[in-house]
């Protein structure tokens, strides 16, 4: 089975198009719901046959659901590692489902249904992980779509539910609503003004948590943070979303303020720093992932500050995804060594920026 991402309704990257609210600061909004199918052991403990039966049941249910009408299904357990990595780099499947961790090899029955900015992972840590992705800061929109999908699926498949504990999940940190709502946000202003520590500390006091670009266990790189609710039990979906909405709204304001302060107090230093970042991306011959992320962060800030006007946020968002190792290997049509990857990355970034370079400067 080969992977044809062009089959996806929007190539699977519609959430990158920077059309959403505050998309200069907030890249994307993602909400996921963890659900398990009654009558089977949780994925990690289930036998191969049980996982396949879960998948069969989900398949049958999905066939009648309008929001997944055009959905494409991929069986992760039938894809080579490179294709699985590609889906993971696009944020369409988790690292665990893709079986990219040495600790978690790909499981039989691991699959994903991908529709227009919604998806269903099957046989992840929980039998079902529903997710909705949106461009920019769009929690309500994302929730509306995932809530509908949840109700549609839940009326066709019996979910494990306990009257006191709510939706039951493999990990106790997800039980209750099973909901993790997260916002991928770019905070270079707060990092440069050294305000970030305070902001992150206050997040934790408010019951929120932060992670890197790829969720749990991933490093913060390029000043990209994923802010999400920490707890899932004892508060309703609406309360959890409301809290995140208010706090992230506040963080967005503080980031905007920090950017204004930077320009006002350190105008030329900042301008020089950001143009250097652009220059490096434009002309470097080899770029590691972390380097690329950090320079892209600078250029993204420059675009946000309107220092660079002809470059679109969409282009930068795409660079973020497409300059990763599996995408580069896919584009080159072969596997690459680490140094070849760095060369390919620099070449890819150079080309993309050249295309839009027209009136830059």
């Amino acid at each position: 089975m080969t992977l044809d991402l062009s089959l996806l309704p929007d190539g699977g990257v519609g959430w990158l198009d920077a059309s959403g609210p505050h998309s200069d600061i907030v890249l994307s909004t993602r909400i996921r719901l963890a659900r398990n199918v009654e009558g089977f052991a949780f994925t990690a403990r289930a036998r191969d046959g049980e996982r396949l039966r879960v998948l069969a049941q989900v398949r049958e249910a999905v066939a009648g659901i309008s929001s997944l009408d055009d959905a494409v299904m991929y069986r992760l357990d039938e894809l080579p590692p490179t294709s699985r990595a590609l889906l993971h780099e696009r944020h369409l499947v988790s690292k665990e489902l893709a079986g990219l961790d040495a600790q978690h090899p790909v499981r039989s029955g691991a699959a994903v249904f991908l529709g227009d900015r919604v998806g269903v992972m099957v046989n992840e840590e929980d039998h079902l992980r529903l997710q909705a992705l949106r461009s920019g800061f769009a929690l309500q929109d994302a929730f509306a779509s995932i809530d509908k999908l949840d109700r549609d699926l839940g009326s066709r498949i019996p979910f494990s539910y306990h009257s006191e504990f709510g939706f039951l999940t493999a990990c106790p940190t997800n039980v209750g609503t099973g909901m993790r709502a997260s916002v991928l946000i770019h905070l270079p202003g707060l990092v440069l003004t050294k305000e970030i520590g305070k902001v992150l500390a206050s997040l934790q006091q408010m019951g929120l948590t932060y992670r890197g670009l790829y969720g749990e266990g991933s490093e913060v790189v390029g000043n990209f943070f994923q802010i999400s609710n920490q707890t899932t039990l004892g508060r309703s979906e609406e309360e959890l979303l409301d809290q995140l909405l208010r706090v992230v709204g506040h963080v967005v304001e503080r980031e905007a303020e920090a950017r204004r302060v930077l320009l006002r107090d350190a105008g030329y230093i900042i301008e020089d720093k950001l143009w250097r970042a652009y220059g490096t991306l434009r002309y470097a011959r080899s770029l590691t992932f972390d380097e690329a992320m950090n320079y892209l962060s600078g250029v993204r800030l420059a675009v946000g500050l309107k220092l660079i006007s002809s470059l679109s946020v969409y282009t930068l968002n795409k660079l973020l995804i497409f300059s990763q190792a599996a995408h580069l290997a896919f584009a080159e049509g072969r596997s690459l060594t680490e140094s070849e990857t760095s060369l390919a990355r620099a070449r890819y970034v150079r080309k993309a920026l050249e295309k839009e370079a027209g009136s830059v400067g």
Partner: protein, 161 residues
């Protein structure tokens, strides 16, 4: 920086207090901070699951529920301790009392107040499950070009639908 109180040791605690709208900053060494009742040793793990597992560990030590098994998936409490994951939904009822206490520690609460859920009726479900399985087998039969098997499966699906 030297401690504001003893003026001897290095200040490691920076205490900001607000009294009558005036902000005071005190820089204290560990010992002087402790004298003023300021906690300096932070032992709490960052991730609540870590805390959770520590608790589980303690409970197991004290009540030896270690060998208790879930009647559905056969998982034990020590399986949970090792992986941080329950084996199945039934574990929640089988270890209910312990789980209630532990959820309170992780989430500060043990009661779900979000959306209530009622599973669909079982008849429709059974039919859906059988149909799903048949369709999966049909897909495989077609893939492996077992057309006779596929035709048979297709008939059975038609009857159910």
């Amino acid at each position: 920086m030297v401690c504001d109180s003893c003026k001897e040791r290095d200040a490691v605690v920076h205490l900001t207090t607000i009294e009558n709208n005036a902000v005071n900053q005190l820089h204290l060494c560990e010992r002087c901070a402790a004298d003023r009742g300021v906690e300096t040793t932070v032992a709490a793990p960052k991730h609540p699951l870590g805390e959770f597992l520590q608790e589980v560990h303690k409970q197991i030590a004290s009540t030896s529920t270690d060998s208790a098994r879930c009647s559905f998936c056969n998982a034990t409490f020590s399986d949970f301790k090792a992986t941080g994951r329950w084996g199945c939904a039934r574990c929640y009822t089988n270890f209910e009392a312990a789980i209630r206490e532990l959820l309170r520690r992780v989430h500060g609460n043990h009661r779900h107040v979000g959306r209530a859920y009622h599973p669909p009726m079982s008849e429709t479900l059974e039919r859906a499950a059988v149909l799903g399985e048949l369709k999966e087998r049909l897909r495989r039969a077609i893939e492996s070009e077992q057309f006779e098997v596929a035709a048979d499966l297709r008939d059975r699906i038609r009857v159910l639908e």
